[in-house]
Structure formats: C-alpha cells, structure tokens
Symmetry: C2
C-alpha cells in the first residue's frame, strides 16, 4: 500500500533513492538544506517541505541521507527537527554514514517519544543509488527491520540486517576499512609496476582474476592507469568516513595500522589539492613517493 514518506537530504545519493520511493507510488515529501536540489523530485510529484519537522509531520516513514553525525543530530533532534512534529509509531531510517555512537543516541531520544529508528548506511555510490542496486546495512530490532524491508528493497539489491541499532554503521565502517586498504594495495602495486617498466593494462589483466583480485583493482585500477581521477566517491568524503572508523577504533581500543596509514596518505592527497577528486587519485600520492620532484 502507498505510504506517506518523508525524505530529508536529496543530494547525489538521496535524490535517486527518494525517486525510487516516488516511482513505487508512495506519497513523498522532501526537504533539503539547499531547496534547489529537491526541484527534480518536485517536478516528479514530490511535495517540498521547509524543514525536517514540516516534512515529517504526516509521515509514516522518514528517510534521512545527510553528510555527517551533527547533521543527523540536527535533522532528528534540532530546533526544526523531526522530533518536533513526528507522530508516535513513525519509523525513522537513517541512510547517512555517521558515528555508531550518535546513531544509538538519536535512536534513544526518538524512542522516548515512541518513534522507531534504523541506521541503514549504504554502499554502491551514485550509480548504485540510481540503479537501485545499493548494499544497505541495517541496524535495529527484528520487527522494525521487517517493517522497513519492502521499502528498502526499492532502493537496494543487498539488504542485510546486521543486528541492533548501531551495527549498520559499524558494518559500513568495516566496509570502508576494506575499501580504503584495498585501494592502497592497488595504488602501491601499480606504482611498483610503473616504476618497474611494466605495461600497466597488461599487468592488471594478468593479476585481476587471481588471489590478488578485488573490486578496487578491477574498477579503479584502469582509471589510475588512464589518469582519470573524476570522482565516483571523493577523497574528502572518504576522509570523513575514515575519521569515523578511527574514532570508533579509538573508542573500542582497536589498533588500525593499515587504515591509519591510508588516512595519512589521503591527507597528503588533500594537501596536494586532490580532495575533490575520486579516491583513485590516491595513486598520484603513492606513485609520487617514488618520483623525482
């Protein structure tokens, strides 16, 4: 049945995700800090709300996709936040990648007013958002997960219930450790190959199918070789996620040697002015370590 749905944060990820809800026949009210970014959805039939509180007023489901922990706190608990207007029994689903601790705090505050919460960060980038093939990692109770599942399936291909609130975020952070350290593996391997005089296309072809193979090598390796540093996912955003990983590691007393190293190398990439380029621009830093300046 069609639901009243709110979607807060209609950026490069949120807009196509909200579009899938709209396309399935749900009544969607959107809010975005920069309203212009919601106009595409409005032209498709979405209502525009002036604040998160306005958007959430009549909603049975409230989706959120904003940049960082303070944004989620503000959207949910702030002066014009969801909590000012939301009805008891509403389910808030946060697709942002934020601190697992903040997810748990926000969930606890919403629980006090009878509102349910799932942390449901995604991976798969803007391509996955547009093609509804995102991986969605969902933290929350069984019953709440089951309630959200039909809607989540409109946006994601792999929807995994990871455990209680906060575990969606923790699983996303695990994903970011894998993504970034495997990216570094790709950069270092190709820098070694280049300095050794190997043909880089042929090298990728020779090793991609074996035990050294990865999504990063297959997808970002060829872009590094071609010098195509346009962003799928920017280094600036990756650094935000790595800060969350390292914070969570510090809270949990987990030693993260490789992730720290990647974080520092991405800092070098930011210093060099590559922050708004794709994460594959890390190659320029790693390769540059072995160049004459």
């Amino acid at each position: 049945m069609p639901w009243n749905v709110a979607f807060i944060g209609t950026g490069v990820m949120g807009a196509p995700m909200a579009g899938h809800l709209l396309g399935a026949g749900h009544a969607v009210t959107v809010h975005n800090r920069t309203p212009a970014k919601a106009h595409g959805l409005v032209s498709l039939g979405a209502k525009l709300a002036a604040s998160p509180a306005d958007a959430a007023r009549d909603a049975e489901f409230v989706f959120i996709n904003v940049p960082d922990s303070p944004d989620v706190r503000e959207v949910c608990l702030g002066e014009n936040g969801i909590i000012r207007s939301v009805r008891k029994g509403t389910l808030v689903i946060d697709h942002s990648t934020i601190s697992p601790k903040v997810s748990r705090e926000v969930a606890a505050e919403l629980e006090k007013v009878g509102v349910e919460f799932l942390d449901a960060p995604v991976s798969g980038g803007d391509i996955g958002a547009r093609s509804a093939t995102l991986s969605i990692m969902v933290g929350g109770s069984d019953a709440v997960f089951d309630r959200a599942l039909p809607l989540l399936r409109l946006m994601g291909k792999t929807v995994t219930h990871t455990g209680p609130v906060g575990t969606g975020q923790l699983t996303k952070l695990v994903n970011q450790i894998l993504v970034t350290v495997t990216n570094l593996a790709t950069c270092e391997a190709l820098a070694f190959a280049r300095k050794s005089g190997l043909n880089l296309e042929k090298t990728i072809e020779a090793v991609s199918g074996g035990a050294g193979g990865s999504w990063q090598l297959a997808n970002l390796g060829p872009r590094m070789v071609k010098g195509d540093f346009r962003p799928g996912f920017t280094i600036d955003l990756q650094q935000k996620d790595l800060r969350l990983v390292l914070e969570a590691g510090e809270e949990g007393e987990v030693s993260l040697l490789a992730t720290s190293l990647v974080h520092q190398l991405f800092s070098a990439a930011q210093s060099a002015g590559y922050g708004r380029e794709g994460t594959q621009a890390l190659f320029k830093v790693v390769d540059g370590l072995s160049q004459r300046h």
Copy 2:
C-alpha cells in the same frame, strides 16, 4: 606432437604441473632434490633423472619449479646444472618465483650457449596447479613465448605475455603486493568487526559484493572467522616472496609503505610460531593487537 620434456622440482606445485604434461602425451623426465617426491610421476610413466643435467640432456623443453633464486641458479648454472648437458635450441621455462634480476642473469648465461629462456611464475596455488587453472605470467621474446604457449596452456588458464625476460617475475611481485595488502585489509576489517561485537559471517556477507570485495575477503575471510589456519600458501613462503618484492623495490627505488607493514606483521606471525600456517593466520596477529594478554 609429443616432445621430450624435463621437469626439475616436483613439489606441491611442480608435481601436478608435470602431471599435465605427462597426461598430454609428452615424454617427461623428472628430477627432484628429494627423489621420493617424484615417485608418483614415475608411477605414471615419467623417467627419473639423478640431476638437472641428466634430466635436460635430451629435452626440447626444460621446466623448473624450485623454491628460490639460488635454487634456480644452481639448477641452471651449477655443477650438475642444465647448462652442462643441454642442447642448443632448447627452451628453459622457469615457473619458480625468484628475483627478476636473477632471471635476467640466468637467461643471459643460457643465451651464450644457444638456449632460450622464459620466466613464467604462476599464481593459483596447489589447487590451481592440480586443476590446470593457474595464472602464468611470462617474460621473454615473442617468438619464444609462442613456442611455449601450447605447453603452458596445459597447466594454466590465464597465460599472459608480460614483456621481455624478468617481467614475468615483476608481474608476479605486483600480484604479491596485491595479495598481501588485501589480506591485511581483510584481517584489520574483521578484527575491527569482532571487537565491535558484529556477527562476522553476516558482516562478510554484507560487504563482499561491494566496493570492498576481494578474493582474499571471499576466500580467506571465512577461514579467519572459523579459525581454520591450515595452509593454502604458508606465511613462510609468503615472506620469501615479500623479500623479493622489497628487494626489487629497493633496487628500483620504489617506496612500498603498505607492503613493508605487511612484511613486518608477517614477521610477528613467524615469531608467534605461525610460519607454517596459511597466510590467513595473519588475522591472529592483527586481531591480537587489540586483545588483553
């Protein structure tokens, strides 16, 4: 047509590889430092030779698969080496993983007596050797590569001509950078997941299909979770290969931050007594960094 073929080094990789040559109808003479390890092939119809020189005497192709650079030098150029008996026009194909520099040296010595050489290291482990699905990275001239290709196809699924002599080894070293740093990514991600209280099977399931996915995660991750540290490829052998990577990096003035880190962590694994376990036992070291002792 059936060839006279010699195979030097019939260990866990060499024996099944020689078996495929035998199975295709070639006349195979084998030599192994420990002759007992060649008995299986002899029972299948191979001839046993007392030395590399004896094995190579009537061969049109000589295959080698021995542990390290000094072994290849000894087998090719030593007192009882191939060079003592080999006929002009013979093609020597070295499947060992050794120093690219030593490959070039041995090739140059053999060239002086009219013998051709390919460095052709493999990846895919004992499973790949048995099922003839190895990746083979081949350095040498076009004509020599073409001459060997029909025989290499009996042992490998992906046979890539990487360039002149030495480039097969260099490509294998690129592969080992990818393999080991991606292994570290897997260890660190799962250690973080475990310490964060996540369900590890579910975590692997949630992230394997996305941008964090890799052969290492899909194949070694579940073994780390189950505590199955039986070797596909041992840490001791991996360390030998990483020494070759770091040596080549030093010669080429390539900075290898992540590979050095993995090498040091594998040293810790060796100190802890895990050298003869599989490379996935690196997880015990990485996970142990965040444990109380």
